[in-house]
């Protein structure tokens, strides 16, 4: 059992946080895409005159905006973690790249 270090090098630390982000990113996407559940739907919920129905253009902008955001985030995370993962797998430890530090 190798000795566990209390603190990591800056690079390893950033790598681990990037992997954390990688894991959390789909949850962010799920949360954002489930926001439409809160939008008012015509003909549903009698007596709720509070929210005007969401215009389709706004809905489109929101949904596709989230989509682009998620894609860019995944791209950035791939850029940050993919190379390290590739190096690690080249060294034979493809399993868990961020745990190397």
């Amino acid at each position: 059992m190798p000795e566990r270090r209390m603190f990591l090098e800056r690079r390893s630390y950033r790598m681990r946080r990037a992997m954390d982000a990688l894991r959390l990113w789909p949850l962010v996407g799920l949360a954002l895409w489930m926001v439409p559940l809160l939008w008012a739907v015509p003909g549903e919920g009698p007596g709720e005159g509070t929210g005007a129905p969401m215009p389709m253009s706004s809905a489109l902008r929101y949904i596709f905006g989230v989509w682009v955001l998620l894609i860019l985030g995944a791209l950035a995370l791939w850029w940050r973690t993919g190379r390290g993962a590739a190096e690690d797998s080249a060294e034979g430890g493809a399993d868990s790249p961020p745990r190397q530090g």
Binding site: P26, W33, L37, V41, P55
Partner: protein, 903 residues
């Protein structure tokens, strides 16, 4: 207007192009070229796009025209799954690679103890679930053709025959490029490349139509969005339940669809590609769905009321006179349909042939007499027949359903069916407690609910289920209404079906798993699947060869040992009439091999191993090899352990004996020291006493003085002799002595010894010498040997108790060398002291105290230095010693025989 014939011509040209591309890719892969392209992440991502079928291409617009933005859920689910690749897909792909999984049925059955019944159930469910989907593709192609036919002369257009022609073409393509090789783990390069090309075509077509609609017809983004807001679907109108349920459903189907599993897991080349696809594939999906709403809105605006919104993508450009764009759009839809059908059929046919046809075929073969034949051909044939069967089923479904239902509805139904695999799949890869019984129950219940609440109602009221059943429930049980199970009514039918089927599926799966107990294979597989990330290294690459003789050979070598296995295979090959090659895996050969293996690993294991390889089921040869390797390693390890423990025991025994020897030596040393101090003190005491008398007593007679002085003198002599001999002995014992080798006749040496020993005062001793052999010349340390002789002769002179002491010296030759026996006529040495006469300071008690008891010890040391030994011969009449010399000291025979008695 585009003539139908023209369109068919373009279509055929396109298909021919696809054939060429696929053919080129197969050839390139065969020659090892084009690797970078064939194995690029781009191709992987594009091949994932078979998720976007004709349903996407045509149906999404229709869906949007009917229900607004709800269509987008079908893409949100897969996007989330891809972005969350780290959680699920990574594990799935790793398992797929390490377990050599060939299909989703294979994965599930393999996880739950390689259960074939489970594989059959999953296969049947997949076929039932996907057949409508294939029918949907045929329908979309036929519909799109009918648009052109309606616009052209259209007289010769027959939808049914068109469907048949399309189906036949697809079957041909799939058979050609999907069953070229047996091994499903091997990439179908031709198919994958063709799919990638089709993916590009449909994306380009979709984007082209979208751009034409937004900028050509809509007048820019802002105007188009304003138009959207003003249209019938201008407001958010998706029910929350449907939004969430459809997102979940599409995510589940994305993982569970046999065709998605095929391209995502089975055809995956590198795990790295998965992460690239994690952003590239959502991008593809986003682009595919970007222009759906504008097209739907503009179509609703421009097209005459009552026209099918499912075909806006095609009819909109056509109505605007954009024939080229319409043609491109048609090709896009055609691509979507064909790529989906090809891969889905491929995946399903693998499942059907591996899990249904092959087991049946193998079981029928068991009963019959042993026949020759190649299993591979049977597998390929089974796969081809399965392809034809599945496409035929699709055509049949299309004919029966009449192509009436909206495209999207069929897609959702299909998704609902395959999503039933999800609990068993996820439970299998994340939860070690999942059991086969649980999976069977979950799948069964989920599938039954799906059939009852989704599939059968889809045929319409009164078709599969009667109107009474809809209103009153099955068998009049009101809680069994297909759209209001357990009396909960008012739900959207899709949400209702998804929620009930998936939740009860999961519940049954978990509950039965908890109460049931898995068998050993299940537990083993469960551990392997769940812990795949911990223990699987970089995946071993699958060799191009089929699971045939070569794999059997490798496995047999691991189990039997290389020479034995090779000899066995060579003998079998000769028996089959093959020279210089491996034998064909005929049933006879495999049975013989199994018997052979059973001798090493037991019958059950051998049967499992061989049947897994030959049966063509999922368990990979590599895994069996790993098992064989492990057992070999363990065997070797335990052998090593045994040897080590043996060595340890030996060492311990040696240590014990060494310790005993040391103790003995220590005792000897103590004895020696006390002996030597005693030996030294006796003469010293008398020397001191007599010298004191000489010093102190004044009136001593001269005679007394002389007597006392001579006593002192003789005692001093004795001391000197003692010290000399001690020194001699210690030199000999320490091995510091250097032998002065020389040559001399034995008789001369004997003469010298006898003369020396008999010199001086003492009892008389008659010496007889008997020489049986001619005199010999010895090459040895002459002086030392003579010293031994002298010692033995003088011992005889000193200790022989006979009235007339006589010594016989007998020289004899034998095989090992020369014996010189010294035998006197005395009473001999008592038996109880015979063993200690060679010890230091041993003296026969009561004898004259002249000797110091070191003579024989010195003799023994000298003889061991000279390579011989001196022994006491107990069987002779008197005291008898034998000096034995090795053969190596003899130089040559000399004359001078006979007896020479010397006095």
């Amino acid at each position: 207007m585009v003539a139908l014939n023209e369109l068919v011509l373009v279509c055929l040209a396109y298909v021919a192009g696809l054939f060429l591309v696929a053919f080129w890719a197969e050839r390139a892969a065969l020659r090892g070229k084009g690797g970078t392209l064939l194995r690029s992440p781009l191709v992987y991502t594009l091949s994932l796009s078979i998720y976007c079928t004709a349903w996407t291409f045509y149906g999404a617009v229709g869906y949007a025209a009917r229900s607004g933005l709800e269509y987008v859920t079908i893409y949100l689910g897969p996007s989330l799954v891809m972005i969350g690749w780290w959680w699920g897909l990574r594990r799935l792909v790793r398992i797929g690679r390490s377990q050599r999984v060939t299909s989703i049925a294979d994965l599930i059955s393999s996880r739950y103890g390689k259960s074939n019944s489970l594989a059959i159930i999953v296969t049947l469910m997949a076929v039932i679930g996907v057949t409508p989907y294939i029918a949907l593709q045929l329908q979309s192609v036929v519909l799109s053709l009918s648009i052109f036919a309606a616009n052209g002369d259209g007289s010769s257009y027959n939808p049914v025959s068109a469907a048949l022609w399309v189906a036949a073409g697809l079957a041909l393509f799939t058979v050609l490029f999907g069953t070229r090789n047996l091994n499903v783990n091997e990439r179908h390069h031709g198919v994958v490349i063709a799919i990638a090309v089709e993916a590009i075509v449909k994306l380009v077509a979709s984007l082209a139509v979208g751009i034409f609609v937004v900028w050509g017809l809509g007048g820019g983004v802002e105007q188009t969005l304003a138009r959207v807001d003003a249209s019938a679907i201008g407001e958010w109108q998706v029910q929350g339940g449907r939004w969430a349920a459809l997102t979940l459903l599409s995510a589940a189907a994305f993982v569970c669809l046999p065709r998605m599993f095929q391209v995502m897991v089975v055809e995956n080349d590198e795990e790295r590609h998965l992460q690239i696809a994690s952003w590239a594939f959502p991008l593809y999906l986003m682009l595919m769905s970007l222009f759906v709403v504008p097209i739907a809105v503009v179509g609703l605006d421009l097209m005459p009321p009552g026209s099918n919104p499912d075909l806006f993508v095609l009819s909109l450009p056509l109505s605007q006179g954009q024939n080229g764009l319409a043609m491109l759009s048609f090709l896009g839809g055609f691509s979507s349909a064909t790529s989906m059908v090809i891969v889905a059929t491929l995946a399903l046919s693998t499942m059907v042939s591996n899990h249904i046809v092959m087991p049946i075929w193998l079981s029928t073969r068991h009963g019959s007499a042993v026949q020759s034949g190649d299993v591979r051909q049977v597998v390929l044939l089974a796969r081809r027949l399965s392809i034809l069967l599945i496409i035929a089923l699709g055509v049949l479904y299309y004919r029966i359903s009449g192509g009436s239902a909206a495209l999207a509805a069929i897609g959702t139904i299909s998704f609902g069916g395959v999503a039933q695999f999800l609990p068993a799949l996820l439970g299998g890869i994340f939860w070690r407690g999942a059991t086969r019984s649980g999976a069977l129950c979950g799948l069964g219940i989920g599938f039954a609910i799906w059939v009852f609440t989704m599939l059968l109602p889809s045929f319409g009221v009164g078709a599969a289920l009667s109107a009474e059943t809809f209103a009153q429930g099955l068998w009049g049980q009101s809680w069994l209404r297909p759209q209001a199970l357990f009396g909960i009514s008012g739900l959207d039918p899709t949400v209702h079906a998804v929620v009930w089927s998936l939740s009860l599926n999961t519940l049954a799966f978990v509950a039965v798993s908890i109460v049931s107990f898995p068998d050993p294979i299940e537990r083993l597989q469960g551990a392997q699947f769940v812990n795949v990330l911990e223990h699987s290294g970089p995946a071993r690459s699958w060799t191009a060869s089929v699971a045939g003789s070569e794999d059997l050979m490798i496995m047999a070598q691991r189990i039997l040992g290389a020479p034995e296995a090779q000899a066995f295979f060579r003998a079998e090959a000769e028996a089959q009439g093959i020279t210089g090659g491996l034998p064909e895996p005929t049933p006879a050969f495999v049975q013989a091999l199994e018997r052979e293996l059973a001798g090493s690993v037991g019958a059950a294991t051998a049967h499992a191993m061989v049947s897994q390889i030959v049966g063509g089921t999922s368990v990979s040869v590599q895994d069996l090899l790993a098992v064989a390797d492990e057992s070999a390693q363990m065997l070797e390890y335990s052998n090593q352990l045994e040897q080590k423990s043996r060595e340890l025991t030996e060492t311990a025994a040696k240590l014990r004996s060494a310790n005993e020897k040391l103790t003995q030596l220590s005792l000897q040393k103590d004895g020696f020291l006390s002996q030597i101090s005693h030996e030294l003190r006796t003469p010293m005491t008398s020397i001191r006493s007599f010298s004191e008398i000489l010093r102190d007593a004044g009136k001593l007679t001269e005679a007394d003085k002389t007597r006392y002085a001579s006593i002192i003198h003789s005692e001093t002599l004795r001391l000197t002799r003692l010290l000399d001999e001690l020194l001699d002995l210690s030199v000999l014992e320490n091995g510091q002595v250097t032998l002065r080798m020389g040559q001399d006749r034995l008789s001369d040496m004997m003469d010298r010894a006898v003369t020396t020993a008999l010199a001086g005062a003492g009892p008389a001793l008659a010496v007889h010498r008997e020489t049986e052999t001619p005199d010999v010349v010895l090459h040895t340390d002459i002086d030392r040997l003579v010293q031994v002789f002298i010692n033995l002769v003088s011992n005889a002179r000193k200790y022989c108790d006979a009235a007339e002491p006589a010594l016989t010296i007998r020289v004899s030759r034998h095989d090992g060398g020369l014996w010189i026996d010294f035998v006197d006529n005395g009473s001999g040495i008592d038996a109880d002291v015979q063993s200690v006469i060679f010890e230091k300071f041993f003296r026969i008690s009561g004898e004259a105290a002249e000797g110091v008891g070191l003579g024989l010890a010195i003799c023994q040391e000298i003889m061991s230095r000279l390579g011989g030994q001196v022994l006491y011969l107990p069987k002779e009449s008197g005291t008898a010693f034998r000096v034995s010399l090795p053969q190596s000291v003899l130089v040559q025979d000399a004359e001078n025989p006979g007896q020479t008695p010397v006095t």
